[in-house]
């Protein structure tokens, strides 16, 4: 990245910029509280459809619960991630990011993580309640939450790429899901695989390790793509 060059241009530390972004993000998020709850409501609604539409029996629900919860997390993340950078482009923050002399990579990474904190994390924390309603076996709650804790940031980071690619387009919404959902399949496979293994009482460290490696891979690589896409969108808009 432009890391070393940026440091030559100005030697302002990165931390104050990140704190500013953090405050700005949380302030705008909490000013519009409805937007905070919307993904959560959507998450619960999707899960409500399965007992009604497929089968309300505990046998089916407990077997399907890991997959259902994971898919609901995926879908609700896609909804909230579609507009991740839209406001920043419109109010000019993105341009400020480009000229502030700090590496865009870290700004994008940080913004995505903060966004996950107030959209992804609540869903993860909420999932045990839904797991209870889906007759998910009690002993495996911690594994479910752990898999979501590792997996949902990966979804957020991948979704950030889609949001960055489509930020200046009018037809954002469904396009982001089209672009990103295929890429999230490995996360889904290892995430649900880990939970299913733990329900079956077999070791799940393999899936956990793969999920963790996906996490670190996404953490290091995804912001590169998002930053490149954002830079291009701002320069062309």
């Amino acid at each position: 990245m432009t890391d070393h060059r940026a440091n030559q241009v100005n030697d302002k530390p990165l931390l104050p910029v990140l704190t500013t972004i953090f405050k700005h993000e949380l302030m705008t998020a909490f000013q519009n509280r409805q937007q905070l709850v919307n993904p959560l409501i959507f998450f619960v609604l999707v899960l409500l459809l399965f007992p009604l539409g497929v089968d309300p029996s505990p046998q089916f629900l407990s077997a399907a619960a890991p997959g259902l919860i994971w898919v609901a997390v995926l879908l609700s993340s896609m909804l909230s991630l579609g507009t991740l950078f839209k406001d920043d482009l419109q109010d000019g923050s993105l341009e400020q990011w480009l000229v502030c002399g700090q590496p865009l990579y870290f700004l994008v990474l940080f913004k995505t993580i903060v966004h996950w904190l107030y959209t992804g994390l609540p869903i993860v924390l909420f999932s045990p309640l839904l797991a209870l309603m889906l007759h998910f076996p009690m002993d495996n709650y911690s594994v479910l939450v752990l898999s979501l804790l590792l997996g949902s940031p990966v979804i957020a980071l991948l979704g950030g790429i889609g949001a960055a690619l489509t930020v200046s387009l009018r037809s954002g919404g469904i396009l982001v899901s089209l672009l990103i959902l295929p890429l999230t399949i490995p996360v889904l496979i290892f995430g649900t695989g880990m939970v299913l293994a733990s329900i079956d009482g077999v070791p799940f460290m393999g899936q956990l390790a793969l999920l963790a490696s996906l996490f670190f891979l996404a953490l290091t690589l995804c912001p590169l793509a998002s930053a490149a896409a954002l830079k291009m969108s701002v320069l062309n808009s």
């Binding site: 790429i161 690619l165 489509t166 200046s168 387009l169 037809s171 396009l175 089209l178 672009l179 959902l181 295929p182 890429l183 399949i185 490995p186 793509a225 490149a228 896409a229 291009m232 969108s233 062309n236």
Partner: protein
């Protein structure tokens, strides 16, 4: 080492001429090879001792599947080239190759389903390799959807390139999924390092089909890129001159 060849590749005009000189004979050769391979494979190749005659669809399934995957690798190479050396041709290649790749992926899935019915007793199984192939189809469709959402600009080139490069992470998962999950699908028919397990009477026609398909693909890409060049360089003087002369000769 001389780099003139590489730099010439970046010139649409040069590529237009070269592609124009070669696409016709490539297409003819590919049709000949595909005919030979099809007749050889369907009529003269020996029956499989287990699968009987139903295995013969391999002569369509394997070439389309190989092309479906290598087309994406070619697109990824083009994407990287386009991002690094800012070659306009790279994006034109992606524009021409993405619909072809999607078509080949669909054909591979379709012939696979037709093959699966007599062999596994079902049209579709959620086997790792089949699923990965389906995901590949969606990757192609995603690239096409993104391109159609953006009007022609520098931005479209870069967006496409970034998306293709991100998607290429999925290709190793496709390639190694058979070994990882070890399910119904038989392992790859051709590998570069080992001799095929089939007898030569069976795999030689298959090789003819694969080579024929590659030539077919190359010829179609040449024509697609030529069309892209004409569209995008329509305001350049050489294109105007070309269209004027071609228009007058055809009258």
């Amino acid at each position: 080492m001389k780099w003139t060849f590489f730099h010439k590749l970046g010139s649409p005009r040069w590529f237009y001429d070269i592609a124009g000189r070669h696409y016709a004979w490539l297409m003819m050769l590919s049709v000949v090879l595909l005919c030979i391979g099809t007749i050889w494979g369907l009529v003269f190749a020996p029956e499989d001792y287990q699968q009987g005659n139903s295995f013969r669809i391999i002569y369509l399934h394997v070439p389309t599947a190989i092309l479906a995957q290598s087309c994406y690798m070619m697109m990824a190479t083009a994407a990287l080239t386009g991002l690094v050396w800012k070659m306009k041709i790279a994006d034109m290649f992606i524009a021409a190759a993405a619909p072809l790749g999607a078509a080949f992926t669909f054909l591979a899935l379709f012939t696979g389903a037709v093959w699966g019915k007599p062999t596994w007793g079902t049209w579709w199984v959620w086997d790792a390799r089949l699923t990965a192939m389906l995901v590949l189809l969606f990757l192609y469709l995603g690239v096409m959807a993104l391109r159609s959402a953006i009007e022609y600009s520098d931005m479209r080139e870069k967006s496409t390139a970034i998306l293709v490069l991100v998607g290429v992470i999925n290709i190793p998962i496709i390639k190694y999924s058979v070994e990882w999950w070890n399910t119904l699908h038989q392992p790859a028919t051709f590998t570069l390092t080992e001799k095929p397990a089939m007898p030569p009477e069976m795999w030689v026609p298959l090789l003819v089909m694969v080579i024929g398909s590659y030539l077919f693909f190359t010829s179609l890409v040449f024509q697609g890129v030529r069309n892209e060049i004409l569209q995008r360089e329509a305001r350049k003087s050489w294109v105007k001159k070309l269209l004027a002369t071609e228009g007058s000769t055809s009258d």
